[in-house]
């Protein structure tokens, strides 16, 4: 029940920020991918099943909001959630360096897939590459900073429960 509440809270927060504050920032060239970041966080915390489910639910909500290409975000975020959740078994999840790399890669994959739908084929590859790189370079440090602040605020490791859970599962 607590996990479901956390899932809904994180998903709603990501969607809300995406449609309000992040739109304003994006207009100024600061592209922050809240969907990829939230999926990575949830996948690190709950593993591959939770990551895939969260990514799918969050993506579906984003797809409904976008009105075109239903399933576009759901597919890629479910894959990202599953992959990160799977990788998280073998990674030090509370390491800032690990989080930086994972958020960066997840943002690259999500942006490349999602934005490619808006562009008419490979002609727009240069715009796509710049957009994807900018999103990765902004989202990864900002995400890690946010996680660090939350960790320091809460006074305990964010992913300790998940690490214990996956060891038990193994």
């Amino acid at each position: 029940m607590r996990a479901l509440g956390g899932l809904i809270l994180l998903a709603v927060t990501a969607l809300l920020m995406r449609s309000t504050a992040l739109t304003v920032l994006a207009a100024r060239g600061i592209v922050l991918d809240a969907l990829a970041f939230a999926t990575v966080v949830w996948a690190l915390r709950t593993g591959e099943s939770g990551g895939a489910t969260f990514g799918f639910v969050l993506g579906l909500a984003a797809d409904l909001d976008a009105a075109h290409w239903l399933g576009r975000h759901a597919l890629v975020l479910a894959l990202i959630g599953y992959t990160i959740g799977r990788l998280s078994r073998t990674l030090v999840r509370d390491s800032a360096r690990t989080q930086l790399v994972l958020v960066f890669l997840a943002t690259l994959v999500h942006e490349a897939w999602a934005v490619a739908f808006e562009l008419g084929g490979l002609v727009g590859w240069r715009y796509l590459a710049v957009r994807v790189l900018v999103a990765g370079l902004w989202t990864a440090p900002a995400g890690v900073l946010l996680l660090t602040l939350v960790r320091q605020g809460s006074g305990q490791p964010l992913f300790a429960d998940a690490a214990l859970g996956s060891r038990q599962a193994a």
Binding site: S19, T23, S49, D65, A74, Y82, E118
Partner: protein
């Protein structure tokens, strides 16, 4: 739960397979599914949260905008007095030529609660809906120019399809020359607005203003749409490739106005 779900070691893979399958099916068939009801529910749930988040942004911008608006009001008052003379003269000339009178726009102010779409927003949620008299097809403008048209109407909210939506198209004309074209959003080679269908024989220049055309069934005539930012030649060599810089700041909308659209002919939605 254990009876329904597969064992933990295969659960992730099974769930991923189900999700991927559903996503692919939705990608192939989703555009034919009725989504308006779900979007209405989403807009209703998110509207209070959107308002709360936007309060900070609105407050920080209010002081700055107030100062700028005072300056602008003074400028516009001076311009209005000059235009009033020109308008009276124009009316006399139109009367003498037997041309119809211009229809004043009826503006209904609304707040923009949320934006959606990437890499450039293609839709926005407005704070007024059917109860406030908003109808599907109404034009949406800011003081700078055209934003789009209302695509879905809910009881207290509505959703506007921005000019940057891939399926939006607006009949436009170049203000100074009357050259006609269709404004569309193009993703190649990068996201941009283009004025299509303008033959190379027509003369157009960079910085000329583009307005909604009198031929448009959906939009009142004369609403500023943008300016010509770049000119090129279409790959076919028959038409211009005209890039338009939008007049309204489509990615930074706070307030807008709904303008009732012209009455549609029978059979046109």
């Amino acid at each position: 739960m254990g009876g329904i779900l597969p064992p933990p070691d295969r659960r992730g893979r099974t769930l991923l397979g189900i999700y991927a399958g559903i996503s692919v099916v939705l990608l192939l068939t989703g555009d034919h599914l009725p989504q308006g009801g779900l979007r209405a529910a989403g807009a209703f749930v998110f509207a209070p949260l959107d308002r709360a988040v936007l309060v900070v942004d609105r407050l920080s911008a209010a002081w700055r905008e107030n100062e700028a608006l005072h300056h602008r009001v003074t400028e516009l008052e001076l311009e209005v007095s000059r235009l009033r003379d020109a308008g009276a003269e124009n009316q006399r000339l139109r009367d003498s030529l037997g041309l119809p009178k211009y229809r004043a726009l009826n503006l209904r102010p609304v707040e923009v609660l949320a934006m959606s779409g990437e890499p450039i927003p293609s839709a926005a949620t407005l704070s007024a809906g059917a109860r406030q008299g908003v109808k599907v097809g109404d034009a949406v403008v800011t003081s700078e120019g055209l934003v789009g048209r209302v695509g879905e109407v809910y009881p207290t909210l509505s959703r506007v399809v921005l000019l940057t939506d891939p399926v939006a198209a607006v009949a436009c004309e170049v203000e100074s020359t009357g050259v006609q074209g269709i404004l569309k959003f193009s993703g190649t080679p990068y996201p941009r607005l283009v004025l299509s269908g303008v033959p190379v024989a027509d003369t157009v220049r960079v910085h000329q203003r583009v307005i909604t055309s009198g031929l448009s069934l959906r939009y009142p005539r004369g609403i500023p749409v943008g300016t010509i930012a770049r000119l090129g030649l279409d790959p076919t060599g028959l038409t211009h490739d005209i890039e338009i810089a939008p007049a309204a700041r489509l990615s930074r909308l706070r307030h807008a106005y709904v303008v009732p659209g012209p009455a549609m002919p029978d059979g046109v939605q």
